[in-house]
């Protein structure tokens, strides 16, 4: 499964549970209340486990975690290196 689909599925199944049934790839995850502060922590933990990549503290910024697209773009850049 491609990065975007994996992230999308995790957010929908685990973080948006009981909040939203569908999310678009460009939807503002924090702004729309789909995920909260603990959700961001879970998301980073999931990325680190699933992709075996440690997200540096300086990369945990809103630009990289704003939406499914933003997260997958960030990961695609980092995982290629």
């Amino acid at each position: 499964m491609e990065t975007k689909a994996v992230i999308h599925k995790f957010i929908l199944d685990e973080l948006a549970k009981g909040r939203k049934k569908n999310i678009s790839e460009d939807e503002d995850l924090l702004g729309e209340g789909i995920i909260d502060s603990l959700g961001i922590l879970q998301l980073v933990a999931f990325i680190e486990e699933k992709f075996n990549y440690t997200v540096p503290d300086e990369d945990v910024v809103i630009e990289n975690f704003m939406s499914v697209n933003a997260i997958s773009n960030y990961l695609d850049q980092k995982l290629v290196k």
Partner: protein, 368 residues
């Protein structure tokens, strides 16, 4: 560090449950001692001995739970609101409150219902205080407090970006001033007139707790530089922390002797607040060396639901033990262990069951 904050949140909720379980351990020692035979009695807690020191020190350290929650929240509200337009911040806050307030109202109502069954009366005015001030039970104060801090977060982030150390220093000063009143009341002394101008600071928890939220925000904004400094001085921080833990115990014993009180809530002491701030900084200093546990991280993800529901769970458990197996009340450590396991395990089981039925669509409105 980011993932370790989830672990830290898990540790904090275990501490919170332990801290509230101690209330029942102390209740058993002081008020239920006709139900068991034990070497522990009310005099045990009044003097410095291994049992009382263990309970006091662990109670004091476990009280760091709320400061940790505030620190982690501050860190992530800085993440959410930093560099974003004000309008977008308002939308983020609105959408956050939608999932923060309903679980609080739900569990406050359940708690009030339980208290009515116990024979308590609620006037309309008292009910207003229950929901607005978080007075359904002691720990509920946290939710109105975090709501106020979330509402203040767009303003705080702007102030921190402009004058970070003035804002941090200001919030520290507020914490100091709000603590002073506690010393006067504990020692049964009247407050000097010049100080009574600041009496408004003792009301609520905003002045006394703002510092930890601001600290979390500041560490996010300045994380590159500050984390390096904290890591460099981490052993010094631990040494200062140990010194203040000892000092705070001497202070509590002194205040207990002076006031002739059986038990003092050490969280209100300024030295204890310093212990909490140093504890957080020391943990941050060693955070890369922390061995995390997936189970504790999992508990960390469920912390809000556990926090709101554990209060009734441990009360029911303590009362059941009182009626069914009272000898356990005298086995303080064992009794505490049972309350902590039940206080965390029962909400987790209830959340899991909730998710297996069609009511799962309301999960976020009940468990956060």
């Amino acid at each position: 560090m980011t993932v370790k904050l989830l672990f830290l949140n898990g540790v904090a909720i275990i501490f919170a449950v332990y801290h509230h379980a101690i209330y029942w351990a102390v209740t058993a020692i002081f008020h239920w001692n006709d139900r068991f035979v034990s070497n522990i009695n009310s005099q045990t807690l009044l003097t410095a001995n291994p049992t009382s020191l263990f309970l006091r020190i662990t109670d004091e350290i476990a009280g760091v739970a709320v400061p940790i929650f505030l620190f982690v929240s501050g860190y992530f509200y800085a993440f959410s609101t930093n560099q974003k337009p004000f309008k977008q911040n308002i939308q983020t806050i609105y959408n956050r409150l939608i999932y923060l307030i309903p679980p609080y109202l739900f569990w406050s109502t359940i708690t009030v219902f339980f208290r009515i069954l116990e024979g308590n009366d609620y006037t309309p005015g008292k009910l207003v205080r229950v929901y607005l001030m978080g007075e359904a039970d002691g720990p509920f104060y946290y939710v109105p407090l975090i709501i106020k801090l979330i509402l203040l977060s767009p303003l705080l982030i702007r102030m921190l970006n402009k004058t970070p150390y003035i804002v941090l220093g200001g919030s520290f000063l507020l914490q100091f001033l709000s603590s002073i009143f506690w010393y006067f009341s504990t020692m049964n002394l009247s407050v000097p007139e010049w100080l009574s101008n600041f009496a408004f600071l003792k009301n609520g928890y905003l002045a006394s707790h703002l510092f930890w939220f601001v600290l979390g925000m500041l560490i996010f904004i300045k994380r590159d530089g500050l984390l390096k400094v904290i890591r460099r001085y981490r052993f010094i921080l631990v040494s200062i922390l140990l010194f203040f833990i000892v000092l705070s115990q001497i202070e509590i014993q002194y205040l207990m002797n002076l006031s002739q009180k059986n038990w003092i809530n050490s969280q209100a002491s300024f030295i204890t607040k310093l212990v909490y701030s140093l504890f957080i900084l020391a943990v941050i200093g060693f955070i890369d060396n922390l061995k995390t546990s997936p189970n504790i991280q999992f508990i960390g993800t469920k912390s809000y639901g556990i926090y709101l529901s554990h209060i009734l769970v441990i009360e029911i458990c303590a009362r059941l033990i009182y009626h069914v197996i009272p000898f356990l009340l005298g086995q303080t450590l064992f009794f505490l262990g049972i309350l902590v396991v039940v206080g965390i395990g029962t909400p987790l089981v209830m959340m899991s069951i909730w998710n297996r039925f069609p009511i799962k669509q309301f999960y976020s409105y009940v468990w956060g």
